[in-house]
Structure formats: structure tokens, C-alpha cells
């Protein structure tokens, strides 16, 4: 039967049909739904791991234990998981091991736009790249076959437009996969120098065999059309190229590493002008040029951002689409914002008020870096806030540290903040760390984590105790603060930054989008009491609207978190007598 499926859902379906029974991941847009769909299959063990490195290690364990196993992550997640990746490339697998990595060209939800194809080459691991949902399913299945035939992990690379587009998919039956025997073999699985040297030789042999496979594989295919133009492309870029060029000749690469050298030479010999159409890095292009073939690519196409059919037409064919002008100049932008009722808002308001230096991290709270709160100075990668604060203290001294806090979400703290905190204690720092405990991984769409108390399958589990954890690292000053009590929150922050020792403040309040969070319902502004001082606008609440001459509440957005009543000196925020009954229904 055919169904419309998100690329991510189809990828999960592929793993299911291949008989996979272990799935581990850490969430990250645009990869998150793969594991959410895996968790819906009763036959599959699925988990949210604390970070990508652990997730890959769990999947490696699954594979060595004999099961087909899958691990998914966003592109930057692969940086975190790179360590096990490079060595599992040496050990090889037992049950098939597939790693899905989702790149984000254009950075719809990411801090950089690195191109994961480089990892395949660097770790000497084959990589496949589907170009629609059907191929997501088919390629993941085939990846398991390749993994077992060639004794290696296989990476499947997606990009945002593949992961988050729906297209038609023909599904099949689940394979009756028998878990493989567990074989102890330290020469293969214990990577000490003597064994690893031998395994490296095996890896190089494997690469030659994979090269040969790539030359003949159905994954790489030539579509002959007009031979004046030949286009080498893959993934989503293939779809854009088809729209841009129409009837020309294509070499569609589904196995992006190892690259099919002979096939490229054969294709090239028959076309007049050769183009490479690929997003981000000149990965194919460099390779093709290295084997002495003349090709046009990044001298006309951009290294940054996404491609599109119109962009390719314009840059390569010189055909510019006539478009209408914008009707109005300088249309105000609409950046994402913290939701009405978000517990991070009160915290940001206080940090801004105290004019602190704030080393930041990644999560919904990163939005507080934007006006009006502007209360975050740095954001590098997950977990970086604590080490960064510590480094600043070592550079600028303890006086600076007393005006500095590190801000980190609960999921991010578990992911890679704990080690930073240990460093502060061990190396005699004084940092103040604010852990924003909304007990969920909110930014990526509400995945449970070790602070939540239940698993991806909705089963109740132990909830980590952040206070005890912080104490155990050696931090003696650990406080829990309510970010909806602005005065008290401010007092606690002031005390803790002044302390000449490390401290942790746990800002505890659930995410406003959590099911069990109920607020009172929308407020209104009493325009007679309001003095138009506009102090409430410093909260950056999307429900408090600046109308120029006056301020008003957007009733459709306001949830009634009451934060504004604490910053208003004139008691202008009032309950609406008749609450809209159907609210939040």
C-alpha cells in the first residue's frame, strides 16, 4: 500500500522492515522524528540517550550483541559521536549497524551547516543519500545489507528537505531477522594498538571492495537525456536539478562514499558540458577534479545555504525568473520567541536587569539572546556554557566571575554540561551555573530526558536528582529557585554570584507546553491604570503588544502566567471577568 510519509518516518520504516530491534538517539532537528517513529513499533527497543555519543555506543552494543541496530542524530550530533564512529569503523559489526545523520543546509534550526559527507571519508565508512521518502525507506534497508556484507557501519545522510518532506511510499513486510550469535573475539573488538593495526589493514581492503560495489550498485544510476549537458548530483539537489535542467543527462549518486569513479568517467565521456550540483561543500567536485575530469560546480553555485531550482537556473543556465517586487519595503522580521508562559522568560528578565555577563548554551532559552532581554553573550555548542564561563574567569579574574553566570537547559546539562561543572570544581573556579530545569527537551519538540521521569515509550522511570548530582561533583552551594517569582529569583542570583565558590541555581518550573501545566487564562490591561511606562515590554512576551500609544494584551496568545503583574508598578494587568471557556481546548 502507498502512503504519504515524512522522510524521517520512511527511514524508520526502512529500519523496521529490515528487522532492526535496537534504536538509540539524542534528539536534534531535523532528525528527531526518526526515533519517535521507531518508538511506535512494539518489536523495537527505542531510547533517548543522554547524548549522541552514548546513543551510538548503545547502537554499537546492539550490533555487537547480534541485533540490527540504528542510531540517529543531527549533523552536529555526529561531532559528539565521532569518537566511537572512527573506531567502530575498525571493529566492524555483528548485526547490521546504520547511523542516520541529518544535515541542515540553510540552518533552519542549527548553529552551523557542516557537511557530514566529510565524516564518511574521514572515518572510512560508506554513506548513502536518498532523494525522497521512498528512497529513505529503501536505502536504510539496503544500508543494513551493506553493513553486514562488508562488516562496517553505514551512514545514511539526510538533509532538512528530505527529512521533513512528505512523499509517497510503498511499504513492505518486516523481515524475519534472526539475531546473530554473540562471538567473543578480542582481535576484532578490542582496539589496542596491536589489534587495531591489523584491523586498519582490513579497513583499507574493505574500502576497495566498497569502491567496486559502488561502481556496480543500483544506488548510482545514469538517466540519459540530451547529452549536451551532463549533471552529477545526489539527494535533494537531484530534485532541484531535475526541475532546473529538464531533459538533460543525469548521474544520480545514491552512494556518496565511496564515489563511483569509473561510472563518473563513463558518464563524463558522453556529455558535452559537465556540472556538479551539490549543496554545501564541493565534495563530489573535488573528487572529480582530482581524477582529472573538467567540471563546473562551486565556481557558479554557492558554498552556503540551500540550493533551489530557480537558483540553479539562474547561476548555471543564466535564466532569471521574473518575479513581482515586494509590495512593502522592510517588512518586520518574525524571529522565533519564547512562548507565552515560558519559565525561561522570568530568568532572562532578571539577568538583563542585573546586566550580567552570560555564557549561554543551546535550547529554547537561547532565544533570550535576542532583544528585548538580550541576556546571553555566547552560544557555541551543547554544553559549552560552563567551560566557557570557567575559561573567562581564568582569563579575567574572580571579579569578572562575580558578574558572570553560565545558563544551561536540563537536557543540555545532562548531554554535556556535567563534565564542565566537574571541571569548575576540580580546577578551583567560582562559576555560577543556572540549570534551567523545565524537565523536558523543549526546543526539539518535547522529548523526555533523564530529568523527566518517563522514557520515550512513556514508561515511568527514575528521575535524576539534579541537586544531589551537583552536590556530588563537589558544589556545596546548590539552590532551587522559582523563575515565576522574580524578586526572589533576583535575590538568589545576586547571592550566588557574590559567593567565592562554585554554585548551582536550579531554575525549576515545567515547560508551558507540558500537558499538566494549566494557567489561569488571559489577562487584560486596565487602560486607566496603565501609565504607558512600557516596562512590561522588557519581558519580551509575544502576548503583550506595543500599539505605539498604548499597550494591549493579545487575548488569543496570553495564557495568564502572571509574570507581567510582577513587573507592573500600577496593577494594570487584570483578570478578564469572563474567561473564554474554550481556551486551550
Amino acid at each position: 500500500m502507498k502512503r504519504l510519509m515524512l522522510g524521517n518516518e520512511a527511514a524508520a520504516r526502512g529500519a523496521y522492515e529490515a528487522g532492526a530491534t535496537v534504536a538509540a538517539a539524542y534528539p536534534g532537528t531535523p532528525s528527531t522524528e526518526i526515533t519517535e517513529y521507531m518508538a511506535k513499533y512494539d518489536e523495537v527497543y527505542a531510547e533517548w540517550s543522554p547524548n549522541e555519543k552514548v546513543a551510538l555506543e548503545v547502537a554499537i552494543g546492539g550490533s555487537l550483541g547480534g541485533a540490527r541496530s540504528i542510531c540517529s542524530m543531527k549533523h552536529v550530533g555526529l561531532n559528539v559521536a565521532a569518537d566511537p564512529l572512527f573506531t567502530v569503523s575498525y571493529t566492524g559489526v555483528n548485526g547490521g549497524l546504520v547511523l542516520i545523520v541529518a544535515d541542515d543546509p540553510g540552518m533552519h534550526s542549527s548553529q552551523n551547516e557542516q557537511d557530514s559527507r566529510h565524516y564518511a571519508r574521514a572515518a572510512k565508512v560508506p554513506m548513502l543519500e536518498p532523494s525522497d521518502s521512498q528512497e529513505c525507506l529503501d536505502y536504510v534497508k539496503q544500508a543494513f545489507e551493506i553493513s553486514e556484507s562488508f562488516d562496517c557501519p553505514v551512514i545514511v545522510r539526510l538533509s532538512t528537505r528530505i527529512a521533513h518532506s512528505q512523499s509517497a511510499v510503498e511499504t513492505g513486510e518486516r523481515a524475519d531477522y534472526k539475531i546473530k550469535d554473540y562471538n567473543k573475539d578480542f582481535t576484532k573488538y578490542v582496539m589496542m594498538p596491536a589489534m587495531a593495526r591489523r584491523r586498519h589493514i582490513e579497513v583499507e581492503k574493505r574500502m576497495l571492495a566498497l569502491q567496486d560495489y559502488s561502481e556496480k550498485s543500483n544506488l548510482n544510476s545514469i538517466e540519459w537525456g540530451n547529452k549536451k549537458i551532463g549533471v552529477i548530483t545526489s539527494g535533494i539537489a537531484y530534485q532541484y536539478a531535475k526541475d532546473a535542467f529538464g531533459d538533460v543527462s543525469y548521474l544520480k549518486i545514491g552512494m556518496v562514499y565511496p564515489i563511483p569513479e569509473k561510472l563518473i568517467a563513463e558518464f563524463t565521456s558522453e556529455v558535452e558540458t559537465l556540472y556538479v550540483v551539490e549543496e554545501l561543500e564541493p565534495f563530489f567536485e573535488d573528487y572529480i577534479k582530482k581524477i582529472g575530469i573538467k567540471v563546473i560546480g562551486k565556481e557558479v553555485l554557492p558554498l552556503t545555504g540551500e540550493l533551489s531550482a530557480q537558483l540553479i537556473k539562474e547561476k548555471i543556465l543564466g535564466v532569471k525568473q521574473e518575479v513581482n517586487e515586494q509590495l512593502v519595503e522592510n517588512i518586520p522580521v518574525r524571529p522565533p520567541v519564547m512562548c507565552p508562559g515560558c519559565p525561561h522568560r522570568g530568568m532572562h528578565y532578571v539577568l538583563n536587569k542585573l546586566k550580567l555577563n552570560v555564557t549561554g548554551d543551546i535550547g529554547c532559552y537561547t532565544l533570550g539572546a535576542l532583544p528585548p532581554t538580550e541576556s546571553m553573550d555566547t552560544c557555541i555548542c551543547m554544553g559549552a556554557s560552563i567551560g566557557t564561563a570557567h575559561g573567562m574567569e581564568k582569563a579575567r579574574g574572580s571579579e569578572f566571575a562575580q558578574k558572570t553566570v553560565a545558563v544551561i537547559g536540563d537536557s543540555t546539562f545532562i548531554h554535556s554540561g556535567i563534565t564542565g561543572l566537574i571541571d569548575v570544581v576540580y580546577n578551583k573556579g567560582n562559576s555560577t551555573v543556572l540549570i534551567l530545569d523545565n524537565s523536558i527537551t523543549a526546543m526539539t519538540g518535547h522529548q523526555p530526558n533523564p530529568t523527566t521521569g518517563y522514557t520515550i515509550k512513556g514508561e515511568v522511570t527514575k528521575q535524576i536528582d539534579l541537586v544531589k548530582l551537583a552536590n556530588a561533583t563537589g558544589v556545596e552551594r546548590v539552590r532551587v529557585a522559582d523563575p515565576f517569582d522574580i524578586k526572589e529569583f533576583e535575590r538568589i542570583v545576586k547571592e550566588e554570584i557574590a559567593a567565592a565558590e562554585p554554585s548551582v541555581i536550579i531554575s525549576k518550573s515545567p515547560c508551558a507546553l507540558s500537558k499538566d501545566v494549566k494557567f489561569e487564562g488571559a489577562l487584560k490591561i486596565n487602560q486607566e491604570k496603565c501609565k504607558r511606562c512600557k516596562r512590561c515590554l522588557a519581558l519580551g512576551c509575544p502576548a503583550i503588544v506595543n500599539k505605539g500609544d498604548f499597550v494591549e494584551i493579545d487575548e488569543a496568545l496570553c495564557v495568564g502566567c502572571m509574570l507581567c503583574t510582577q513587573v507592573c508598578s500600577f496593577q494594570a494587568f487584570e483578570d478578564i471577568a469572563e474567561k473564554a471557556g474554550a481556551k486551550n481546548g
Binding site: 512528505q166 519564547m338 519538540g445 519580551g540 509575544p542
Partner: protein, 191 residues
């Protein structure tokens, strides 16, 4: 109809994903090749969001580019203005008159443009506007704005009402189905 390019534009959290799912299901029922491209993640937090739905005999790129949209469903007025360049000259736009202030307006560094509807109408012929939020509220659920707008689109396009009905029943969660059917019908009769 051999192809149809539809865009849904709005503010993250307004229910654009559900609307795109319904439109995707409809295309599928009519035996078109179809691609639906959505935005998840960051912009779902109150940012500007856009979804593309393309029907045709064979769809390659999932994106709709400037001047290529046949229909734009705008869930918010400023977002309607932002995406007008994407409409082809004969295209239709259905605009919810709701205003949601983005942060630059809240902080006072920008002003919400005035007279948006008239500006758009001067350039494009097929523009329909309504207060979908009010209609959704009357039906008993502020969140049904998305389905109200689909109701309007159903009334203005040749796709059989029964197909819409089936698609909504298959897509909308059972516990809010009745409200949504009501919202759809209210939208269908609104203009």
C-alpha cells in the same frame, strides 16, 4: 487541473502542520504525485513558518519559489504580506485578518504595517479575507483557525467537498473532530 502549488504561511504554533497534512492527504486521494515540505524545529516557536504542498503528475523539488504559488493560505496578515512575492499573478490568497505582533514590533523597533489587505488587493485580484479566529472561537476552539481557512479554500476550489471531508476525518484526532468539522463548514460558508 494538471498541477497545483499551495503554500501555507503563518506563525509557528498556529496549526499549519495539520493543515498541510490534510492538503497532502487530499492530493493523494486524487491520485496526484505529491510532496509536502514542512518546517519543524526552531521556527515552530512563534517564528515565521511556511509549508509547501505541490500536486502534479510528477513532482521533483518539494519547494515552491517566487511567483510559483497558485494558492496561499495566510494564517496571519503580516505573513500574508511577507509571502506575496511567491504568488503567481493569477494566484489566490486567503487571508486570516488576525494580527500577531512579532518581537521587533513589541520592542518598538518596527511598526505593524497598516492597510495590508488593500495593498495586496491593489496588486492581486483573487484575494479573500476573513476573521478566522472569530469563527474558530464561535465554533468553540481557538485552535481551529487552520480548519476554518481550509473551509474557505474548499469553497473556492473545484475539489469535491466529500474528499475534504474524508481527509479531515482521517487526519484530525478523534476527540477534536466534531469541532473541526464545524469549523470547516463555517469556513466553507464564510465568503
Amino acid at each position: 487541473m494538471d498541477k497545483l502549488n499551495i503554500m501555507i504561511v503563518g506563525v509557528g504554533g498556529q496549526g499549519t502542520l495539520l493543515a498541510s497534512r490534510i492538503l497532502g492527504t487530499i492530493a493523494f486521494k486524487m491520485n496526484y504525485d505529491v510532496k509536502v515540505s514542512e518546517v519543524h524545529g526552531m521556527s515552530q516557536r512563534g517564528g515565521s513558518v511556511v509549508t509547501y504542498i505541490k500536486y502534479g503528475t510528477k513532482i521533483y523539488s518539494p519547494l515552491i519559489e517566487k511567483g510559483e504559488a497558485d494558492i496561499i493560505l495566510a494564517f496571519e496578515k503580516l505573513e500574508a504580506l511577507r509571502w506575496t512575492e511567491y504568488l503567481n499573478n493569477d494566484g489566490m490568497m486567503i487571508i486570516n485578518e488576525q494580527e500577531i505582533a512579532p518581537m521587533p514590533i513589541i520592542t518598538g523597533t518596527a511598526k505593524y504595517p497598516s492597510d495590508i489587505i488593500n495593498i495586496i488587493k491593489q496588486k492581486y485580484k483573487n484575494i479573500f479575507t476573513l476573521d478566522a479566529l472569530k469563527i474558530a472561537k464561535q465554533c468553540g476552539n481557538l485552535k481551529a483557525v487552520n480548519i476554518v481557512l481550509l473551509g474557505v479554500m474548499a469553497a473556492k476550489t473545484a475539489i469535491a467537498k466529500q474528499i475534504w471531508d474524508e481527509a479531515i476525518r482521517e487526519t484530525v484526532p478523534a476527540k477534536v473532530l466534531n469541532v473541526n468539522i464545524e469549523a470547516f463548514n463555517a469556513g466553507y460558508q464564510a465568503i
